[in-house]
């Protein structure tokens, strides 16, 4: 009896004091192993009288069960703290400042173009392009800009050597030559004849002799052109109101359509968006000021005619905007010349 209770208390103490899983296993071996103390008790079983043997056996088994249970409990506890210790030794400081990954950046001009394309794409516009080097017919004559018009002066237009037949060649001064190119495109003619409508936006580089803080000799424009059987200024307004509100992400952005003059549209309107100035900083949205962002108008009948489109049967509207200006507004860039210096510290912003 004494033996049993000593073995019991010693074993249970040892279990309770085992510091880690290794020590605990040693305790198990010392108690329940082949030469363990409990096993030793079992071995004394043979020397007992049969009457005592049954009761003694049951008690030793009970003791064994008790120690096993204690070992299990202790083992679970030590296991949990071992895991905790491991976790503790492998913590990561998640509050460290993040590091830029090796991701490049798209130029702000490209980002604006993408956004414009997405918005107009939603409205059913497709993408059209034309050459940067144009003949003067497409750049001027087709657009109702006669040979003696001031816009043709050398002071505004970059000229290239003329072609062999004397045709003057220019760097296009606007994306508008693509108006005539698109209308004269056989596919478009067939499309219009088949009752379809032409809806394009034309992004691209344009060139004018100008260089100061607000002008660079190369800049980007996006031109829009819609030709259909019944288009009017209401459609022009609707389209541009929708566009401006989507682009600037202001649902109630006020727009003002101000009469103006362009040779290739009649009537013509410049489009202003509402804005305000606070502490020298521009805020777009309803305010006391206006900011000009678009030129627009109903396509002049002469331009339709030059594009092989009968102005008696079709009408259209067109609009154009400077991407640099839009990018400057959207990203708060003050000096437009920064856009072409390609300083990565600027681009990466």
């Amino acid at each position: 009896m004494d033996d049993r209770s000593t073995i019991r208390s010693e074993a249970l103490d040892a279990v309770a004091n085992a510091a880690d899983l290794g020590a605990l296993d040693a305790v198990r071996v010392a108690a329940l192993g082949k030469k363990g103390s409990v096993t030793g008790l079992m071995k004394t079983l043979g020397g007992l009288a049969p009457a005592e043997r049954k009761e003694f056996g049951a008690r030793v088994n009970q003791l064994k069960g008790e120690i096993e249970a204690a070992l299990e409990t202790r083992k679970a506890k030590l296991g949990a703290s071992a895991l905790a210790a491991k976790l503790a030794s492998e913590t990561v400081d998640v509050s460290l400042p993040t590091r830029p990954e090796g991701q490049g950046t798209l130029h702000p001009i490209g980002q604006v173009m993408d956004e414009l394309a997405a918005i107009f794409g939603e409205m059913g516009f497709t993408w059209a392009e034309g050459p940067d080097i144009e003949d003067d017919w497409h750049n001027f004559t087709a657009l109702n800009i006669p040979p003696d018009h001031p816009a043709r002066q050398m002071q505004d237009t970059f000229y290239l050597p003329p072609r062999a037949d004397g045709t003057p060649m220019v760097l296009r001064t606007h994306t508008s030559p693509v108006q005539a190119r698109s209308m004269l495109d056989k596919k478009v003619q067939e499309m219009l004849a088949g009752g379809g409508s032409l809806r394009i936006i034309v992004p691209g580089r344009t060139f004018r002799i100008d260089s100061d803080a607000t002008h660079t000799p190369m800049f980007h424009q996006v031109e829009g052109l819609v030709i259909d059987r019944t288009t009017h200024m209401g459609h022009l307004k609707g389209c541009l109101v929708d566009f401006c509100r989507a682009f600037f992400e202001i649902d109630d952005l006020p727009l003002r359509f101000r009469p103006s003059y362009f040779p290739f549209t009649e009537p013509s309107a410049e489009v202003d968006i509402g804005c305000s100035w606070k502490d020298g900083e521009l805020r777009i949205g309803a305010g006391e000021s206006w900011l000009e962002i678009l030129g627009s108008g109903m396509v002049h009948p002469n331009v339709l005619r030059n594009g092989g489109v009968d102005p008696e049967r079709y009408s259209g509207f067109a609009f154009g905007m400077g991407i640099e200006r839009i990018a400057q507004l959207a990203y708060g860039i003050e000096d437009g010349r920064l856009l072409f210096q390609n300083d990565v510290r600027f681009i990466r912003q």
């Binding site: 798209l106 794409g121 409205m123 497709t126 993408w127 940067d132 050597p161 004269l184 000799p217």
Partner: protein, 819 residues
């Protein structure tokens, strides 16, 4: 143009607040860039006390004034008239007074600071009395002077090129009265009896226009017994407000009438004009084109050589002025001029513009107006208005009648028929035809109404209005575009996709940015030296020059994007930013003809297309700079560019790209090659030559590549196809070889693919090693993966292919296989 508010009010009440007037102009299509109020900031002041300044010999006194602030202001004044208690106008420092170029400042005199200025009527632009301060009869100290005085305001107005009629006060007063529904009172345009002489003008002057197309109308009058002197204060103030300095009563009248009616005039000294000719009793005016080499000396004494398209006014055979551009020095009005020969004419706009551009540093008030093309109804009106004013102000008499050569009369403006509903169809809003007729009438149009239809006759000064759309604009701007409801055109998709959206290069951009390169946009024109230094894909092509470049630095069209990117790298290095990689996607310009003309090259009605345009290939260029200058770093960059390009080409176009080592001008020999896709050379890649680096002032080393992508990338991207993942296991075998150091790996890979056949799924280069012991050889390790699509590959079969590859490398490349 500068427009004076008080001047406008000579022709209409226009008593609405200034902001309302400005808004009305903007809403009807006249831009107002700026508004300057005269003496803005000036306030009413009460003189508390006046103290003599003993040091002054001219009676300067120190005034203590109450300007509505806590403390009085103390300043000096030389004016004799003010007394203590008077209300005067104080212009504090910073105030801009009419006709002053500088704002009012702080002066120090007699050891005293004198802030600002006490104003006389002259300084406020209100009168001619400069002798004393303007004493007010009402006002409270501190109150803005504009509330108690009728101070002028000047509007800086921008007029669109189609509206030369708005470059004057009457024109803008007309716009305003039409917008606001007020009445317009035009100035008198006839010579009153009292100022007229009975002597007929024909006895004194004859006019012969030899080029009626260049000069549709030429009118003259003669005013005699004129006393030249300063013009009255009211006229001087008007001119100053409009930005023109007064000269004398004759010249001032011509300027005044130009600013009033929009028609520039020219005044000659009659006698000097006559003497400049061949010497008859009467002046002979001849209008013609110049002959090459004729000269004229301008009022500033500068001589100009004329060319045969310049329109000139002559006295007999001799040139005395270039029409609308230069007045001759020796026929102008001078102090002792007694008889004035006054000219008003209509000129061919483009001719004037051409002469003005060539002969003048900047356009003049007259040349600007003539260039835009003026009405030929205007000259006699302006001539009479000016003649009467000269006679009135100079005490002279206007000879009877005018000489008027109008043989080149412009074709009359035809009436415009507006069918019922046309205005609505263009404007997209309800337009009542009576309302339209009223709006047009206010703008000077004659309108006949027939039910809903209109017959519209534009006034003589609106030669820009020709077609119903023009009339719609007049009506639209009068009613206001705010009235047009926003509607969306029906959402019909066009039948044909004209170009894919988004364009293919957009996806290339995303791939490159994802790979860590920053996008650049560089100019389409570059300097000739840069173009010659690094030709990239434009090798062998001479750049197209600009005929009128802005600077030499931007004088030829680029044939490659690489020079621009090198320049961008330099900009970054100069800012202290190193180790960057940039790319650009854009067009280069190659002389010669493009393969296929762009759509719409044949104008409607023309049989043949316009002459071909030069080729504009869409290029992709990349540069990657390393600051450390080490060969292996730049080699790694080169490898990176290569991988990015291969990925982009494969991902977007399904094209496999290989690089064949080759010497490329501008790139380092042994570190350059040609990019080949589907058997065609599409690009170049390599490390920039040290000479090129030096030429672009670049530090470190630079890997670069350029690739033509418009041919490479299909217009319509291939639809993605699903590939069944392999069902059977692969056999992987590693192969180690040593080869002579100069052997390109591309050659080994090519041989391996060729020899191993279709069972070789991939060959991966695991390692390249150059031992120090033997510089002549390097070693490679490849992993060859063999797989059969339809069965489990027998290891022996793979081994046989492997052995064949090893043998081929030994015989063809001199490789030694390590077994």
């Amino acid at each position: 143009v500068k427009i004076s508010l008080r001047w406008l009010r000579d022709y209409a009440a226009l008593d609405a607040p200034l902001s309302t007037l400005v808004q009305a102009l903007i809403d009807t299509g006249t831009e107002v860039d700026d508004v300057h109020r005269d003496a803005e900031g000036a306030v009413v002041a009460r003189i508390n006390a006046l103290h003599p300044v003993p040091e002054s010999k001219h009676g300067v006194r120190r005034a203590e004034i109450d300007v509505g602030r806590d403390a009085p202001v103390s300043l000096l004044t030389a004016a004799p008239n003010p007394r203590a208690g008077d209300l005067v106008v104080w212009a504090p420092p910073g105030t801009r007074l009419p006709g002053w170029t500088q704002p009012v400042g702080v002066k120090t005199m007699f050891g005293m600071e004198s802030p600002g200025f006490l104003c006389s009527a002259v300084e406020l632009g209100l009168g001619d009395d400069a002798d004393g301060l303007l004493i007010l009869d009402r006002g409270v100290p501190g109150q803005p002077a504009s509330e108690v005085l009728d101070l002028d305001a000047v509007l800086e107005v921008e007029v669109t090129p189609n509206r030369p009629d708005c470059l004057c006060h009457v024109g803008l007063a007309r716009e305003l009265t039409a917008a606001l529904g007020e009445a317009l009172t035009e100035p008198p345009t006839s010579v009153p009896e009292a100022l007229a002489s009975v002597s007929p003008v024909e006895n004194r002057v004859s006019v012969r226009v030899e080029d009626p197309r260049g000069c549709p109308r030429f009118t003259v009058r003669v005013i005699e017994d004129v006393a030249v002197g300063p013009s009255p204060g009211w006229m001087q103030r008007r001119l100053r407000a409009a930005g023109i300095g007064p000269i004398n009563n004759v010249v001032d009248v011509t300027n005044f009438v130009m600013l009033e009616l929009g028609e520039p005039l020219h005044a000659f000294d009659y006698e000097r004009f006559r003497q400049a000719g061949s010497g008859g009793n009467a002046a002979q005016v001849v209008v013609r084109r110049a002959t090459d080499g004729e000269t004229i000396v301008d009022i500033g004494g500068r001589e100009h050589r004329l060319q045969e398209h310049d329109l000139v006014v002559c006295s007999g055979p001799n040139v005395v002025s270039v029409a609308g551009v230069i007045g001759g020095d020796d026929t102008g009005v001078v102090a002792d001029t007694r008889t004035v020969l006054l000219e008003a004419a209509t000129w061919d706009g483009p001719s004037i513009r051409a002469s003005s551009r060539r002969l003048l540093d900047k356009p003049t008030d007259a040349s600007t107006r003539f260039s835009r093309g003026l009405s030929d109804t205007l000259p006699p009106l302006a001539l009479d208005r000016a003649a009467a004013l000269i006679a009135e102000l100079g005490g002279g008499r206007v000879l009877k009648g005018m000489v008027d050569d109008h043989r080149g009369a412009l074709p009359p403006i035809p009436p415009i028929e507006i069918a019922d509903g046309v205005l609505e169809r263009i404007l997209g809003c309800q337009v009542d035809s009576s309302e339209a007729a009223t709006a047009l009438a206010r703008l000077g149009f004659s309108v006949e109404q027939d039910g809903g239809a209109l017959r519209v006759l534009p006034p003589h000064f609106r030669r820009d209005v020709r077609i119903p759309a023009d009339v719609a604009e007049e009506v639209g701007r009068s009613l206001g575009y705010a009235r047009v409801p926003s509607t969306l055109p029906g959402r019909r998709r066009p039948a044909t996709e004209l170009a894919p959206y988004p364009p293919v290069e957009d996806r290339v951009r995303d791939v490159l940015a994802g790979a860590g390169l920053d996008e650049a946009i560089t100019y389409s024109f570059i300097g000739p030296a840069d173009a010659a230094r690094l030709r990239g894909l434009g090798e062998g092509r001479s750049p197209i020059p600009l005929r009128n470049p802005l600077t030499d630095y931007w004088s030829v069209m680029r044939t490659s994007l690489l020079p621009g990117l090198c320049d961008a790298l330099k900009n970054n290095l100069n800012q202290g930013v190193s180790d960057i990689a940039l790319f650009e996607i854009g067009r280069a310009f190659w002389e010669g003809e493009r393969a296929a003309p762009p759509p719409g090259s044949t104008p409607d009605g023309a049989d043949a297309a316009l002459p071909p345009l030069p080729e504009e290939p869409l290029l992709l260029a990349l540069v990657s700079q390393t600051g450390d200058g080490r060969a292996d770093t730049v080699a790694a960059r080169l490898r990176q560019l290569q991988s990015v390009l291969a990925f982009a080409a494969h991902d977007l176009a399904g094209v496999s790209m290989t690089i064949e080592p080759q010497e490329i001008p501008g790139l380092r020999p042994g570190r350059s090659g040609r990019i080949v896709a589907d058997g065609a050379a599409v690009g170049v890649i390599g490390e920039l030559d040290p000479d090129v680096l030096e030429g672009f002032e670049l530090r470190g080393r630079v890997a670069a590549a350029e690739l033509r992508i418009d041919g490479l990338v299909p217009v319509v991207p291939p639809a993605p196809r699903f590939h069944q993942p392999p069902k059977y296991p692969a056999v992987q075998l590693d192969l180690s070889v040593t080869v002579p150091t100069e052997t390109p790996m591309g050659a080994a890979l090519g041989i391996a693919r060729e020899v191993a056949g279709e069972l070789l799924e991939s060959i991966e280069d695991l390692d390249e090693y150059r031992g120090e012991a033997n510089a002549a050889r390097k070693s490679w390790t490849f992993r060859l993966t063999f797989r059969a699509p339809d069965r489990t590959l027998n290891r022996n079969e793979a081994q046989a292919r492997y052995d064949a590859v090893a043998a081929a490398l030994e015989t063809r490349l001199g490789a030694e296989v390590r077994r």
